[in-house]
Each structure stands twice: as structure tokens, then as C-alpha cells.
Symmetry: C2
Subunit: 218 residues, 2 copies
DNA sequence: AAATATTTTTAGACTAACCTAAAAATATTT
DNA sequence: AAATATTTTTAGGTTAGTCTAAAAATATTT
């Protein structure tokens, strides 16, 4: 049996370690989990005993194969529920994350596989993130961050890094969504802001925005 | 803040007390919650402090108005999710209860109201139980139990008391579902079994079955 | 390479939800 | 109305997940 709290730690370790590849340290986990480092140490020990994590004192933590599988499965559920909320229940993309944080812990194979079918096996969630299949496989989406885009080139928006409501609402208010086509007009060296051309407007976005919006060349 | 465990106790008290009307005693709660009486006492005290229950030592417990509202809301969520599972995800009526036990604790007003709309405001769940609206109101469904049906009369099946998978599968295997029309042929005084006529068969059901199937005269 | 700073772990405590065993209250028999 | 049985509560303990404060290990500066 795996608890809800254990699941959340595993997911945090997976994301912090760049999809379960790198070692993650205690303080980083404490920060995203909103707890103290000492609590994290306790939990890492437990995850290690349960064979979800590899842990050597003072040396950080990585996920085992089992741990990665747990993580990918929770992410699958999270993202499928996000699609459901947007596609079927008329949520907007800035409202789904919070609810999906809870729905992702419902344990029923049949539920999630039927949901997947009901949604017609979507490949990405409302933020452009890939949805793992039953076996835990998913494609890496090709994308670059707006901050590193070439001047003059034309791109399609394919994802966001920050999924906070405030960022997504900002994008909404500037008519930027997944699929939106933009052209890079100018990069301002002074503050790293970027001027982009949209369908019928031209706007300047801050470095902060430029670091959180993913693009693909068209 | 109300915990998942508190919610489950409140729901149990509501159901045991005949929709929050009657006093419920400690042992009865312990039985349905699968815990010990001493744990129940602890929890009742907590619910009483939080104003969800009225409690006098040794005198059993009733729900307050707040407590009943919590209960009805969880039941609303439970039953809407059951409808969703059957109508949209192709679950059968004997598979939904378990999953709904978890889904009923997801806390999001918007989620449940949108789900309600998506399902087109269903009035009952897959077991014939009424679904409370946003305000917590629901109609009492008129029904009698098969055990008390009149010989010779014709009825429609409108609900079940036992929602266990084994009972529901038994009904399935005998082609009895909600909406099925039956005629009462004979009551056997020896063991209280009842002979009923279906569309193209005649079967004898045990007292146990007769006590768990609800009917309405047609 | 020593001193200092940072990170991580340990030690000991707290709360929620549970347990067992014993005591107290209430209900039922005699 | 006593005696007995049943129900409920209390007392004290356990586990998961958290905390603070202090100790230990590692990293960075001087
Ligand atoms: Mn999300
Ligand atoms: Mn997402
Ligand atoms: Mn149910
Ligand atoms: Mn039901």
C-alpha cells in the first residue's frame, strides 16, 4: 500500500529530478512539498525502505524503477483528469491543476483506462504536457523556450512551464494559447524582454514570460 | 477544515439515523466504519466540538443541521459520480460504489456542479437512490420492499437496498434491473421466499432478495 | 588546510486516527 | 430491587506525518 503523501513525494522527486533522471536534494523537496527538511529526510527513508527510492545519507535521492513507474502513473492520471475538466466540464486551463492534484490519487485502473478511452486517448494535457499511456510511455515533446527563440522566426506555442493561474490568465488576456502562432520581432538586451507579433497585434513580454512559454518552429 | 475520516463518520451517522432523523449509537457506527467503539467515541467527541453532531455521553448521537448538510453533499457527490461511471465510462452498477467512495471526497464546488450539468441533472443514481441538488434537497422516492408486496399485483423495480456487487450480479443474472416489471405470484410462508413472474420467466427469490429489492406499483 | 557557512540528519515532541483493556453507565433478567 | 449482561467511555499506547532545536556532515571561503 502506498499512501497519498508518499505519492506526492514520489511525484515531486520525479519532477525535480528532471523526469526521474537526476539526484534530488532534501531542501529542494522540502520547498516544493512545503515542509521542513527533517520531514523530508523521514519520508525519503520510508520511500527507500519501500524500494521506491535510492537513498544514501547526505547524498540526495533518486527514484528506483518502481518509483518512476508510480510517478508516471500519477502524472498520467493528473493529466487525463485535466483534459476531462477542460474538454467535458468547461473548466479553463488555469482552473484544472488544483482539482487534478486531488483526482490523481484516486486508485482504480478501470477508471483511468476508461477515462482515457472516453477522452479518445489524448496525447497532451491542456498545458501541452504529454500524457503517458498505460505502460508509462510518452513522447518527449519537441520544444524550445521563448527566451531562446530566434529573431525573425515563426513559432507555434506548444506548452507552458509555469501552470499557475496568474500566468495562464495573463496569456489568455494577451490571446496566447496552445496553437497560437507568433513571430519574434526583437529581443531587448537591457531586460531580456521580447517583442512578438501575434495575429493582429504586437506585444512585448517580460523575461519571466519568455522563460515559461514553450514554442515549436513552424 | 473537515477531514476525509470525519466525512465518512458523518455519512455513516446520516445513513444509520435514517437520513439524519434518529439517534445513532456507538456500536452501530463502529460496525459500519469497521472500527472499535472506543474510536467511535473519540470521533463523536470531535464532531460534537466541531458542531457537526449533538452528543450526550451514553445517549447516542444525532447530526446538527451543519452535519446533515455535509452528509447530503457527500451523498450528492457519491451518486453523481456513480451516474458518471455508468453513463460515460461503461461501468456496470455493481462496480461503481467502491470508486465513488473515493471520488465523493474530492472537494470542488465547480467540479460537482459542472459534472451535474454534464450528466444533465440526473434525479437518481444507478441503484435508484435520489440525487440531492446543490441546496441539498431531494425527493423521497416512493417504494415498497418486495417482501411486503401484494400477491397478484404488478410492480416496477425502482431500487435496491444492498448495493453489494454480489447482490447486483445476482439480479443481473436473473434479468432484474431498474425498470424491470414483475408480478407477484406466490409467497411461501415456510421460508418467506417469493415466486415472481418476469417478462418471459418465473423465478423464486429468497427472503434475503425480497428484503433488498424496492418496487413501485404500476 | 583551517575556518566558516550550508545542508542534512537526529532527537524528541505533537496531532489525528486508531487500538486494547479496564472502568463506568445503562439495560435486562431474575 | 438486586444481580447480571451489554454498551459506552476512559486510560494509556501505537503509527504516519509533521514540527523545532541541536548535532553531524559536507561545501565554500579565506
Ligand atoms: Mn497540473
Ligand atoms: Mn497540466
Ligand atoms: Mn454507492
Ligand atoms: Mn448508489
Amino acid at each position: 500500500m502506498i499512501t497519498l503523501t508518499e505519492e506526492n513525494y514520489i511525484k515531486a522527486i520525479y519532477h525535480l529530478g528532471n523526469n526521474g533522471e537526476e539526484t534530488v536534494n532534501t531542501n529542494a523537496i522540502a520547498e516544493v512539498m512545503q515542509t521542513k527538511a527533517s520531514s523530508v529526510t523521514d519520508m525519503i527513508k520510508k520511500l527507500s525502505e519501500k524500494k521506491y527510492a535510492n537513498y544514501k545519507k547526505y547524498q540526495g535521492v533518486t527514484l528506483t524503477k518502481d518509483g518512476r513507474f508510480v510517478a508516471v502513473n500519477i502524472i498520467r492520471k493528473h493529466r487525463l483528469w485535466e483534459v476531462f475538466l477542460v474538454e467535458k466540464l468547461n473548466f479553463s486551463w488555469d482552473e484544472v491543476h488544483e482539482v487534478a492534484e486531488h483526482l490523481e490519487h484516486i486508485k482504480s485502473e478501470k477508471l483511468i483506462n476508461q477515462l482515457d478511452a472516453f477522452l479518445e486517448f489524448p496525447k497532451h494535457d491542456p498545458h501541452g504536457d504529454p500524457i503517458p499511456d498505460k505502460e508509462g510511455n510518452f513522447q518527449h515533446i519537441e520544444k524550445i523556450v521563448l527566451a531562446k527563440a530566434e529573431i525573425g522566426a515563426v513559432y507555434k506555442c506548444v506548452g507552458v512551464d509555469d501552470t499557475s493561474s496568474s500566468f495562464l490568465k495573463y496569456l489568455d488576456s494577451n490571446n496566447i494559447g496552445l496553437g497560437t502562432i507568433i513571430k519574434i520581432k526583437h529581443k531587448e538586451p537591457y531586460d531580456n524582454s521580447i517583442k512578438i507579433e501575434l495575429k493582429d497585434s504586437e506585444i512585448v513580454v517580460s523575461q519571466n514570460v519568455a522563460k515559461n512559454l514553450y514554442l515549436k518552429k513552424v
